[in-house]
Symmetry: C2
DNA sequence: CGGGAGAATACTTTATCCATAATTATGAAT
DNA sequence: ATTCATAATTATGGATAAAGTATTCTCCCG
């Protein structure tokens, strides 16, 4: 049992090229605000920090640029993208549209098991809210949305939403910390869950759209 | 007035990196079906054909891969993406959604000048249809949709639609050649234009959605 | 005759290197 | 003293080379 076998197994599980790995790490770095929007990305420093050459790093940056996470200025280098108010004006209607479609599709397709899972996650939301656990609420909220994407069954739609959400996350999201926003969000989730349970696609769609719109207003968009 | 000013001007006109140029060319190549879906892309041959090194070419391929135009199989090389029936099932609802939103937004925002331009393009559609000029019809149709995107004023939404349409174009689009499809498409455009003229956003949205759905059915989706 | 293993070939992948362009700092001149 | 120009340094972008991995073909053994 040499290392070759291990490598092959590891690769068949994760046949990811280096540039993809790097892109993932950078995405997490940017989303966790370890790198601030507008900040210059030092290719050399980052490459030597990761112990890789600049080539896969540059390829990763090209990918992130097409995703809108970074901006590549010719001969000027790479900068973490910063979104303007105008960008939010454009993105939120799209998000509402896509998430709404996801919710509608999920309402049509949800099995009893799916609904049970959704109810369980919603309970976590309720518990977190009752405990004033904002981080827990945020996490459960994210899982709730991801589960809806999964139930909706449109992987491409889910991926588009994920990319848009990644761009939105470039700016700090402290809306949930605002007084009243957490309970309002909870109430919106209740309405959404009820629509999903009744397999009412259009109610689920509008509930989700209202949910997105109100979270936008909470940000002052 | 030194050369610096001139340089800056020149750069703001054409500051495109080589990989972007290459990506554009490849996009056109793939969309014109000069490269068939599933076909292997020979990096070395293409690089020497363009007189460039493989580095910018590979960067371009990474970009196209994130756009869904090509598929990058680790250690296997790059292939022109081929979309399955399942992909169509996923993409068309998204297209209908996004194009519908575009139409709704355009209906709200269209100025009289915009409506005049749209009417002029629609006339080209009518003329091309009367002359059985399928290529002309196709071209006018494309311009009509692009103009709606422009009037809608959401650049990000338009870009998402463009990328999706590029993926759809991977397969041959001979639906317009089908008997009856051309006149049906024309009638759908008439309804859409009427809704836009009346600034009726929801009618425009549903007209566009029906238009997308029927073009899908024409493909046998 | 068929299957498995090993070797060879070819292509991807990564790293290093070079050139070009831009920006900044310093010096000189007004 | 301030501004402009020039030079130097630094970083990006493109190229080439080397290494590693996967696949395929052939040969040998059962």
């Amino acid at each position: 049992m040499n290392s070759e076998t291990l490598n092959r197994t590891a690769e068949s599980i994760a046949p990811r090229a280096l540039y993809i790995e790097v892109a993932d790490r950078l995405r997490r770095l940017i989303q966790s605000h370890a790198m601030a929007p507008g900040e210059w990305i030092d290719e050399q420093a980052l490459a030597s920090q990761y112990g890789i050459s600049r080539t896969p790093l540059r390829e990763a940056l090209k990918v992130l640029a097409t995703e809108g996470m970074v901006v590549l200025k010719p001969r000027r280098g790479c900068y973490v993208a910063q979104i303007s108010g105008g960008d939010l004006e454009e993105i939120y209607p799209i998000m509402a549209l896509l998430e709404g479609e996801c919710a509608a599709s999920a309402a049509r397709r949800a099995s009893d098991a799916d609904l049970a899972d959704l109810a369980a996650l919603h309970q976590r939301l309720e518990d977190s809210a009752a405990a004033r656990d904002v981080e827990g609420f945020f996490d459960a909220n994210q899982r709730f949305h991801l589960l809806i994407h999964h139930v909706a069954g449109n992987r491409r739609l889910a991926q588009m939403i994920d990319e848009l959400r990644a761009v939105l996350k470039l700016q700090r999201h402290d809306s949930l910390y605002l007084e009243g926003r957490l309970v309002a969000s909870l109430e919106e989730h209740r309405v959404l869950l009820a629509a999903l349970r009744e397999h009412d696609a259009e109610s689920a769609r509008s509930a989700m759209q209202r949910h997105i719109e109100s979270s936008r207003r909470a940000l002052g968009g």
